[in-house]
């Protein structure tokens, strides 16, 4: 029988917070040129290619799983900015048929597949901690990103709530929005 919950760390190598005004054609073009993906305009959507993924955070704010250090000037010319937040968040991947049930113990979001579609993201709370949730496309899994300083409490809550499913722990893997 497959484990109902598999918990693993999703490590983040590079993450940048890109901000700018998509109504400016030059910014939209610069961002696409820099990252190879068009920054998503629709709330809670994610645009990805092989190398990177751009998560919608707000009308003028995105999280990019990419190294933007060499693009700062290009973005700045188009009125945009990029902040290095590579070490700000830690990620946990919760996989398995009970993943949504587990997350719903700590978060009021609706994790139903038809509401929270694979390949999309949402920001809410995990317990009392701000969190970004991503639903993977490939597997029945979510990745939860929280601020680094809160990691101990979050992993403890995940383990406690998963205990009744008899969860398994898996090795840390790089976070890929697949």
């Amino acid at each position: 029988m497959p484990d109902l919950i598999v918990l693993s760390e999703a490590s983040i190598a590079t993450a940048w917070n890109v901000q700018g005004d998509l109504h400016r054609a030059d910014f939209a073009a610069a961002a696409t040129r820099c990252f190879g993906v068009a920054l998503p305009e629709t709330p809670n959507t994610v645009v990805r290619n092989v190398a990177t993924a751009a998560f919608w955070l707000g009308p003028r704010s995105w999280l990019l799983l990419a190294d933007a250090s060499r693009h700062r000037d290009v973005l700045a010319e188009a009125g945009g900015v990029a902040f290095d937040v590579s070490a700000s968040r830690v990620g946990y991947t919760i996989a398995g048929p009970q993943a949504a049930t587990l997350l719903a113990r700590h978060c009021p979001l609706d994790f139903d597949r038809q509401v929270f579609a694979p390949g999309t993201c949402a920001q809410s709370l995990f317990g009392q901690v701000n969190a970004l949730f991503y639903r993977h496309i490939a597997a029945d899994a979510f990745t939860l990103l929280v601020a680094r300083s809160f990691d101990r409490g979050v992993i403890e809550h995940l383990r406690t709530s998963a205990a009744q499913f008899g969860y398994a722990a898996a090795a840390s893997r790089p976070f890929v929005a697949d």
Partner: protein, 997 residues
């Protein structure tokens, strides 16, 4: 003990699984499927409790959540729980229960004296004790007596050993109640494709249906229920929640429900919570919550052996228990005839059915069947009174028109005064109720929200109506949420119809106590008294008599009480109205409310990247906001104070390092950052060069200091702002708000990078040596002067780490701050410790940091900037740039903020070698009688290891003009008074030579 009252066959109990339990220490036996109440009845135990006020013997009265009497103390030790309804507690092997509210025993209760003297303690006597006698001393004395007599069970003293958890859920259609109506609704909604959740209070579905003869779609009821349940359970879009009570309706169609995950077990299985609190957000709700039966007020209607008629029938049909040997049924409607028939079939001698109606068989088919079965029906009659002390032994019955009564011996009285639809959630959702005269009950009327009541909850009794209404409501609810099925599910059908009229007989005038509210001992006379004393509003009546204020919230009593009030007032019941229904519908465990967020998890805790190093090196931790920070690093045998003093001395003599990762950090970028900073801070920012930092102070809109910190210019349009640890979020919110709502035209982007950077401060005369040995840039005073900012690489055991370097100082010493990405924070820290060792470097905690800043006269937000002080009060008035506007500046010129007598920051030195008292106030004459005018107060204080005496920062009226004055710091709480010398707040290096070294 054998189960003498258990039927040989039938019921939903599992005779193959006997369970042992104990009540008041007596070992008893029941079967799996029993409740505590049904198991007690199977053993012939009726007497289970003493009443709240009069300590009258009480028996099991109901069969579910409506139970007012049978409250027991469940389990022992930490899991002991008072006021558990025996009727809802599932039996488990080894269950231990005890009766409550009795001394020394249930059969002989000293408190029953109250019953004898009940004339002295009528309704509202408690309030009257406030009025008479008028001396408060008397009240203080008999308050103890009242408190000792009142109350039910006892809460456990140990902390709760169990866990509780929350579960959020979303659905299209929430069905509350898993009886026939609820299941029909759930099937119809699920078939249309809606996401459905069904909450059922009981461990099994099927609601109150017991009738073994009834059929649905030509199948026995039980078979249909099981088929419907199995169908629903197999659908991935349906969640079935047995043992779950929907207890509250909240805004936005949010329903709170409590799932009793493990209350049917002695202890929760490992990893499982005891209970789970569901927060269900539904788009549409179907209420199939059924109805509660109510009693009739006659003298002695509380004797043990008195049961609600439907309860008695349920004990027979579901639990295979004979609740007595000789029964009298008293009913004002047709439904209780089913009880009479069930009792008869179970071999109970039904002595008579007493019915106030003149021709019961004309009003209902069941009455005719009872008559055909040969049961004696006494029409147009009523029970006048019941006899028996620990168990009912006889009833007096009289025709309505006569006073002469006839006595009938019996050990069981089954009463039905009609039914109250369970409209609690409907009413909590602000739905209005209507009094239905035919049913003599309040039924749901209208509600603007998508909530539909069906079946008995809507006053439509019987399977036929329940199924039809449920099916239609489920289908409509699904349609409203956008789900329609192409092929309609056929509506389930039954021929079984329920009663449609209730003869409104509420009470039978008789001598003796006619109880309305069994749990709170409210009688018909109490209601009459309240009316005589002017409490004629239903809300006043409730509070004066305590009607319906017990843990059962008057489920069997409220409507009866209202009816008696209406009778007394001579108005229709509809004109009296109901009291307000409030959540929770049934009591919920307090532990379920916080769920997992209790103990260490009441609030989240934040740890810096260096936390484990601190812990391994003996740090004691203190909280700062949500953060845990090292307070000090005591060595073996060293106290925390000694450690902090050693650390502080070492910083001034050699060098120390402190973890300042918790400081708020905000990165700002864009063309207009300097403009934003100019508007946020009181001082000037457009002159700040790239590679430089500056200290700044921010005000609230009202001119009071909000926060302080440094901001560095990292690039032409790239800045890093630091805030205090506690205000990090507040400052970020302020910036977001101003940029989004007030100055959207500014080209500034901001993001919090508190979590991105681990930060350390290296301070002390040898700080440069330590840093120079670590980094790859020139950190000499010429190359990297005071308030310089730059980037560098730090050499560590794991290779070079990119870092930001700042020449800023909080201690007043030569100091450098090094920031690295948080995932390298530990490596940086260890590199500093290693590289600093030859120079005598020690880590220091927040206590030493505080000592150092007090010595230097640096303010801290919270102590000196306490939400009442201006920049000028704190000696920072010269920072205010008169030539520009900033947040809070317009209100700085308020008279209150420019008053020359305002309190100003000063330094204090304790004289006579004394210790500075904690949180002292400053006075000129310590011997003056109270109230001794306060000249100011101490805001921060410490022993200064570098000065060898106790010092403090204080706010003092006109303080800066009082240099050299001697005052007294007094602390009545600490019983201390110390002579203090007023001086400058800066005790160390007033010229700043050390930090510019």
């Amino acid at each position: 003990m054998t189960q003498a009252f258990r039927l040989a066959a039938g019921g939903e109990i599992d005779r193959a699984r006997p369970l042992g339990f104990a009540f008041d220490g007596a070992p008893l036996c029941g079967f799996a499927g029993d409740t505590l109440a049904s198991a007690l009845l199977a053993n012939g135990v009726h007497l289970v409790a003493r009443s709240f006020k009069y300590h009258r013997p009480r028996g099991i009265y109901g069969v579910g959540t409506e139970e007012p009497n049978a409250l027991v103390q469940l389990a022992t030790g930490a899991r002991s729980e008072p006021n558990v309804r025996a009727t809802t507690q599932e039996l488990y092997d080894g269950l231990r229960a005890a009766s409550q509210n009795r001394w020394p025993s249930l059969r002989f209760d000293f408190g029953a004296l109250n019953d004898a003297f009940s004339r002295l303690i009528p309704a509202g006597f408690y309030y009257k004790t406030f009025m008479w006698p008028s001396t408060p001393r008397a009240w203080l004395r008999y308050e103890h007596a009242i408190r000792a007599m009142a109350g039910m069970g006892r809460a456990a003293h140990e902390s709760d050993p169990d866990d509780y958890e929350h579960q959020h859920a979303h659905c299209d259609v929430l069905v509350i109640g898993g009886g026939a109506a609820g299941l029909a609704a759930a099937r119809a909604a699920a078939q249309a494709g809606a996401r459905v959740i069904v909450c059922e209070e009981q461990p099994r579905f099927g609601g109150s249906i017991t009738d073994p003869d009834a059929a649905i779609d030509d199948a026995p009821v039980g078979a249909w229920i099981e088929r419907a349940r199995a169908e629903l359970a197999s659908s991935p879009r349906v969640t079935l929640l047995p043992r779950t009570t929907a207890f509250g309706f909240y805004d936005g169609v949010l329903v709170g429900a409590l799932e009793r995950v493990a209350d049917h077990l002695a202890a929760p299985p490992p990893g499982f919570p005891r209970q789970r609190l569901w927060k269900i957000r539904a788009r549409d709700v179907v209420l199939a919550t059924g109805a509660h039966e109510r009693g009739i007020a006659y003298a002695g209607n509380d004797r043990p052996g008195t049961l609600l008629a439907h309860a008695a029938r349920t004990y027979v049909e579901r639990y295979a228990v004979r609740p007595g040997t000789r029964a009298v049924v008293f009913t004002n409607n047709d439904s209780a005839y089913a009880t009479a028939l069930a009792l008869h079939a179970a071999g109970v001698d039904v002595a008579a059915v007493i019915d106030p109606r003149s021709a019961p068989e004309r009003d209902g088919p069941l009455a005719s069947r009872a008559k055909d079965s040969g049961l004696a029906i006494e029409a147009a009659s009523a029970i006048v009174s019941a006899h028996g002390r620990l168990r009912v032994s006889a009833v007096d019955v009289a025709p309505l028109a006569e006073t002469r009564s006839r006595r009938i011996a019996c050990d069981l009285v089954c009463v039905s005064g009609g039914f109250n639809p369970v409209v609690h959630l409907f009413s909590q959702a602000r739905g209005t109720l209507r009094f239905d005269d035919a049913l003599a009950a309040f039924v749901p009327d209208c509600l603007p929200l998508p909530i539909t009541a069906v079946g008995a909850a809507a006053g439509r009794y019987g399977l036929a109506d329940a199924l039809a209404q449920g099916h239609a409501a489920g289908k409509e609810a699904a349609a409203r949420t956008g789900h329609r099925s192409a092929a309609d599910l056929p509506e389930p059908r039954s021929e079984s119809r329920g009663m449609t009229t209730v003869h409104a007989l509420w009470s039978v005038p008789s001598k003796g106590k006619c109880f309305v509210d069994l749990q709170n001992d409210v009688t018909a006379d109490d209601i009459a008294l309240a009316v005589r004393e002017g409490y004629t509003s239903v809300e006043h009546l409730k509070r004066y008599t305590t009607l319906g204020m017990g843990t059962d919230q008057g489920k069997t009593s409220n409507v009866l009480g209202l009816a008696l009030l209406a009778e007394r007032l001579g108005v229709p019941i509809a004109a009296v109205g109901t009291t307000t229904f409030r959540p929770p519908y049934t009591p919920i465990t307090l532990g379920a409310v916080p769920g997992r967020e209790r103990g260490a998890h009441v609030a989240p805790t934040r740890h810096s990247a260096m936390h484990d190093w601190h812990a391994r090196h003996g740090a004691r931790f203190a909280t700062a906001g949500l953060w845990l920070r090292p307070h000090s690093y005591p060595r073996p045998g060293e106290s925390e104070d000694d450690a902090a003093n050693r650390e502080a001395r070492n910083v001034r003599a050699r060098v120390g390092v402190v973890d300042v990762s918790t400081l708020g950090k905000i990165e700002l970028a864009g063309r207009d950052v300097a403009t934003l900073l100019n508007r946020l801070y009181i001082n000037t920012w457009d002159t700040l060069a790239v590679g430089r930092c500056r200290y700044g102070v921010m005000l609230r809109d009202d001119g009071i200091v909000m926060d302080d910190g440094t901001t560095s210019r990292l690039g032409p349009s790239h800045y890093l702002m630091t805030t205090t640890t506690v205000n990090a979020v507040k400052v970020m919110q302020q910036i977001d708000y101003l940029l989004q709502a007030v100055w959207p035209e500014l080209d500034v982007y901001a993001t919090s990078v508190t979590e991105q950077w681990s930060a350390t401060a290296v301070s002390g005369p040898r700080a440069r040596d330590v840093v120079a040995a670590l980094v790859d840039i020139d950190v000499s005073h010429q190359a990297f002067p005071f308030l310089a900012a730059g980037t560098c690489n730090v050499r560590t055991a794991q290779g070079p780490i990119a870092a930001r370097l700042f020449r800023i100082s909080y201690s007043g010493e030569l100091a450098y701050e090094l920031h690295v990405a948080a995932d390298r924070g530990r490596a940086l820290w260890e590199a500093i410790i290693t590289s600093g060792a030859p120079f005598g470097l020690m880590p220091y905690g927040t206590e030493a940091m505080s000592t150092l800043r007090i010595e230097k006269g640096h303010i801290v937000v919270g102590a000196e900037a306490d939400g009442r002080t201006t920049a000028d009060d704190l000696g920072l008035g010269k920072l205010v740039n008169p030539g520009k506007w900033c947040v809070g500046k317009p209100l700085l010129s308020r008279p209150g903020l420019t008053d020359p007598q305002r309190w100003q920051l000063v330094g204090l030195t304790a004289l006579d070698g004394a210790m500075m008292p904690r949180a002292a106030k400053l006075v000129t004459d310590p011997d003056r009688a109270a109230p001794n005018p306060m000249e100011g107060h101490v805001t921060s204080w410490c022993y200064s290891p570098n000065l060898g005496q106790w010092i403090a920062l204080a706010l003092l009226a006109e303080g800066r003009a009082r240099d050299g004055e001697t005052l007294w710091a007094v602390s009545p709480l600490a019983n201390a008074r110390v002579r203090v010398l007023v001086g400058s707040p800066c005790f160390i290096d007033p010229d700043g030579k050390r930090l510019r070294a």
